[in-house]
């Protein structure tokens, strides 16, 4: 296999998505190159096209045009192969409300063909990291928003993917826990996992290896946090964003 020669975990070229229902050009020529083992933050206001991009890359949504390569394989053509190696924690939890936390995670583990023996230790590990040990038997509908978010993350990590997409994963999570999350993200990165994290909260980006600023379905700036701040002579990512979107009102 080509695996060892591929430098990029994710590559997109001129990626476009026009939803049939809305006539909105949600993604408008996106060119991304995300390296293996990188923590990449896709930052932009609500409606800038982050979720749409992530869904197309993970194989859940059909692109209108452009090309996507994940681990060297073309998506959507080879998405069934690639799905084994990616984890997706969607923006709107997307877990079963009427199942328990454990049933949810177990369900997803089965979809990846995991045996009971593989599931148990991994599940225990995730419960610990995500501070969910006491809630394992609780029905998801009785959990708080932050706990649902963490359950969803557990579902996306149970099969030890090589690439994970966290869509607004840190929204509604309290600051202390958020720090733990980032610690964990770093530990995943150290194991060679590629992380793509979206957020509409600008300061979230500062912790990433690289940032892509998105607006109206396009990248408007890209680089490491320091590079970006230097180039734009700004103290925070938010300042850069405001500078680049000058005069325009961001649609919230």
């Amino acid at each position: 296999m080509l695996a060892t020669e591929i430098e990029y975990a994710i590559e997109t070229q001129d990626l476009v998505k026009i939803y049939k229902t809305g006539k909105v050009q949600a993604v408008n020529g996106l060119n991304l190159q995300i390296k293996k083992g990188e923590i990449y933050a896709l930052i932009g206001a609500n409606g800038s096209g982050k979720t749409t991009s992530i869904n197309m890359i993970s194989g859940a949504l059909f692109p209108t045009s452009g090309t996507i390569k994940v681990l060297g394989h073309e998506i959507p053509r080879n998405r069934r192969l690639i799905t084994n190696y990616i984890g997706l924690a969607p923006q709107d939890y997307s877990i079963y409300e009427d199942l328990s936390l454990e049933e949810n995670v177990r369900f997803f583990s089965r979809l990846y063909g995991m045996s009971k023996g593989d599931f148990e230790p991994k599940f225990e590990e995730l419960l610990k990291i995500l501070r969910l040990e006491e809630k394992r038997k609780a029905l998801v509908k009785n959990l708080s928003g932050g706990m649902k978010r963490r359950t969803s993350i557990a579902c996306s990590l149970i099969h030890s993917p090589k690439i994970v997409f966290f869509d607004e994963a840190t929204v509604g999570v309290d600051p202390v826990l958020r720090s733990f999350f980032w610690e964990y993200f770093r530990s995943l990165k150290d194991k060679g996992v590629t992380l793509v994290i979206t957020s509409h909260v600008m300061d979230e980006a500062e912790r990433a290896d690289r940032i892509g600023l998105m607006r109206a379905g396009k990248l408007i700036a890209e680089g490491t946090p320091d590079e970006l701040k230097q180039k734009h002579n700004a103290a925070t990512i938010e300042e850069i964003f405001i500078e680049l979107s000058e005069g325009e009102i961001i649609d919230e």
Binding site: M1, T83, Y112
Partner: protein, 383 residues
């Protein structure tokens, strides 16, 4: 080959590509767990059969008195006995008269029904006993608009037949003899309720299960996993079929132990018929789920399929009494065949030999709904 195995750290193997029964069962199990947790749907499962059975069960309780009925008895021995038994029944007020005049009077509302016992009736019964024929008809023209009245009337006639035929010692054959099309309304009761409840509940539960997948966003998420559409479909079907089995068991238990229904035929054939009928409606539900956007719409599908079924499938009115232009429609209403099967097996003691056409039709329905479900569920990566 060996080289590949050595560099295992970054190995990229094409796994989980084949159709997997494991994933199918994961979906099935999940479907059952969701159902088990859903109090509302679970409540429906108990309340709907009870309510429907009560409505139809009460129709047989004989609360109605002195219904004006005309009888045209052209027969001798058995006809006389039936007439006598009917005359002794407090539910009906029997008057003798002409059948064709009686039909007009029923139309005018003077009588609720007119009964014709043809001249060859006793002869037919004897022929049946001799094994020369299987048909003996009593003709009934009745006002089917008021189910309770209809039920009482039919109950009275049924009792009269029971008593008469019981005297002659052919009480088992009587179901077969008088259960023909002319009398299909006679046994509206447990068999029809089973068929109806199966349709009603399976469509609701099936559509809701799949719709929730859409609403909760999990369906989109599943597209980002190795799960195939065909595995998902089969998983739903297996899960829903298990739920259907629970429903069938419940309805049969209610029917037999609470409402005193009897199963004359083979119980296993009955269960098989119920499963086949259930399967067809599971496929139907999977297909219909494509057209609902939310739970409310999903629930609306149930009456949408159930009410025409009730009206045209021989539940309210025997299909034979439908207006001429509507009668053919009853042939495409699934309930018609469900009722045929359940009535045949439960009341008439029929087996596969007599019911193979109905089995064939329900089997064909399974296939048609299956194909529709497959076509619409396949390759549905979100667009």
């Amino acid at each position: 080959m060996n080289k590949k195995k050595d560099k295992k750290s970054d190995e990229f193997s094409p796994k989980n590509l084949a159709f997997s029964m494991r994933r199918v069962m994961a979906i099935a199990l999940k479907t059952i767990n969701q159902f088990r947790r859903d109090r509302r749907t679970l409540g429906l499962l108990f309340v709907v059969p009870m309510a429907i059975m009560l409505i139809f069960g009460l129709a047989f309780s004989g609360e109605v008195q002195n219904l004006p009925v005309l009888i045209d008895n052209q027969d001798t021995v058995f006809g006389m006995m039936i007439e006598e038994n009917l005359a002794n029944d407090t539910r009906v007020e029997l008057t003798a008269g002409d059948y064709f005049e009686g039909v007009e009077q029923v139309e005018k509302g003077d009588y609720y029904a007119v009964i014709l016992i043809p001249a060859n009736f006793t002869q037919s019964i004897l022929e049946i006993q001799a094994g020369n024929t299987t048909q003996a008809n009593i003709y009934l023209y009745l006002d089917g608009t008021k189910p309770t009245i209809k039920g009482s009337l039919l109950g009275a006639l049924r009792d009269a037949l029971d008593e008469t035929m019981g005297n002659t010692g052919i009480s088992v054959v009587q179901e077969l003899a008088f259960g023909g099309a002319e009398f299909s309304g006679l046994d509206v009761g447990i068999p029809a309720v089973i068929a109806f409840v199966l349709i009603f509940l399976l469509v609701i539960v099936g559509v809701i299960t799949i719709i929730r997948e859409k609403i909760q966003g999990t369906q989109d998420r599943l597209y980002a996993t190795p799960l195939r559409s065909s595995e998902r479909l089969l998983g739903y079907v297996i899960g829903l079929l298990l739920i259907a089995m629970i429903m069938i068991a419940l309805v049969l238990i209610f029917g037999v132990f609470v409402f005193g229904a009897k199963v004359q035929g083979n119980v296993f054939l009955l269960i098989f018929a119920a499963l086949l009928f259930g399967l067809a409606h599971v496929f139907l539900a999977v297909f219909l789920a494509n057209f609902a956007q939310n739970e409310l719409q999903a629930i609306q599908f149930a009456p949408l399929t159930a009410i025409p079924s009730m009206a045209l499938g021989g539940m309210m009115v025997p299909t034979i009494s439908l207006p001429v232009w509507l009668y053919p429609v009853s042939f495409v209403v699934p309930l018609t065949y469900g009722i045929n099967l359940f009535e045949g097996i439960m009341l008439k003691g029929w087996g596969f030999a007599e019911l193979w056409v109905d089995f064939l039709v329900v089997g064909a329905m399974c296939l048609i709904f299956f194909v529709l479900a497959i076509i619409t569920v396949r390759n549905r990566m979100r667009d």
